[in-house]
Symmetry: C3
Subunit: 141 residues, 3 copies
């Protein structure tokens, strides 16, 4: 079994930025030369999350609206009284969505559906450079 | 360490179909002969998700209602303008719930609670045959 | 590769109790002597979940309010007609949040962000002693 740790990085903009990190992850998977195994992704930080979705601008906007219904940006957050950064909404969103994701690798490729991309959701209210921990485990080619 | 990849399959109906896949997963776990390790499940596709719940028809209906509150089926979805399939709601629900699940195996059995079953949630608006990627890793008996 | 299974435990109070289990997990990680690998956590049971958040009382209250919006405690739950325990809301919340969490270990430490703690969310309506399955896999020091 081959095990590999990497750190990927991505730049995000303020507000709820949802970006497609599939190409980044796919390239890292290819580099590992793992034939059968899995990749785990984890985002350090408490104002971002990981998930999968069809990366199409219409449904990305639909997802943003759903998240806004669940944890609206402009309601009262107790967190904002403790800290001046005003991102209480971002913390709540991140805790609900979750920081980790696991994707199988079969015959050298991730088993994503045809219309399924890996996304980083950054809820913070300022641009960020995000680090994504990439771990791959499996049998190499 | 023994590693094994499998593909499980299940048929779902239209609408939000929530089905109990525990027997399917349990049988696959038994076949692996893993004593201590873990099983990871992943659903390829962007309109379905995996989770655990007590599989009792009352609470399954309660969960469906909660999901309907979060991402109602009949509100406006930008996604539905791009594609004629009308399942924008399904994509949003799947992204919020997440495609992967990890369950430990201890002494040959998954460590599920007594009232905790593994469910596949299919949000799509047509019947589907779903493939679930099953991966087990661990020490065999 | 070293693999290790453990059972951690924590006491929770009634209502939506969100507790910081980071010190518990960190101590277990240290004991494994794993340098590079990962830890997976799983909560058996259908009325609790795991996630990460900045463990600050303000944002914990904000998260509780968001969860109350998604699955209010005092609306009608069909589950409560089947069972007299009145915790239908707890089952729905747990299914939405999810029972498993995966955190990388790099250079002997979990790759949590500075303000990111691991939390157990217990939604049940009575105090519980919760068992958390801890699994670590990786290369030892």
């Amino acid at each position: 079994m081959h095990f590999e740790n990497r750190s990927l990085s991505a730049h995000t903009t303020a507000g709820t930025d949802i970006i497609d990190i599939t190409p980044l992850v796919r390239e890292a998977v290819r580099d590992t030369r793992i034939r059968n195994g899995s990749v785990t992704l984890f985002i350090p930080g408490s104002t971002a999350a990981l998930s999968t979705i069809e990366f199409e601008s219409g449904v990305i906007n639909d997802l943003k609206k759903a998240i806004e219904r669940i944890a609206p940006r402009d309601i009262y957050y107790e967190h904002n009284e403790r800290w001046a950064d005003g991102n209480g909404y971002a913390h709540v969103r991140a805790a609900l969505l979750g920081p980790s994701l696991h994707i199988p690798i079969v015959e050298g490729a991730m088993t994503l559906g045809t219309w399924q991309q890996i996304v980083l959701l950054d809820f913070d209210n300022r641009p960020r450079k995000r680090r994504i921990i990439f771990q791959a485990l499996g049998e190499q080619k």
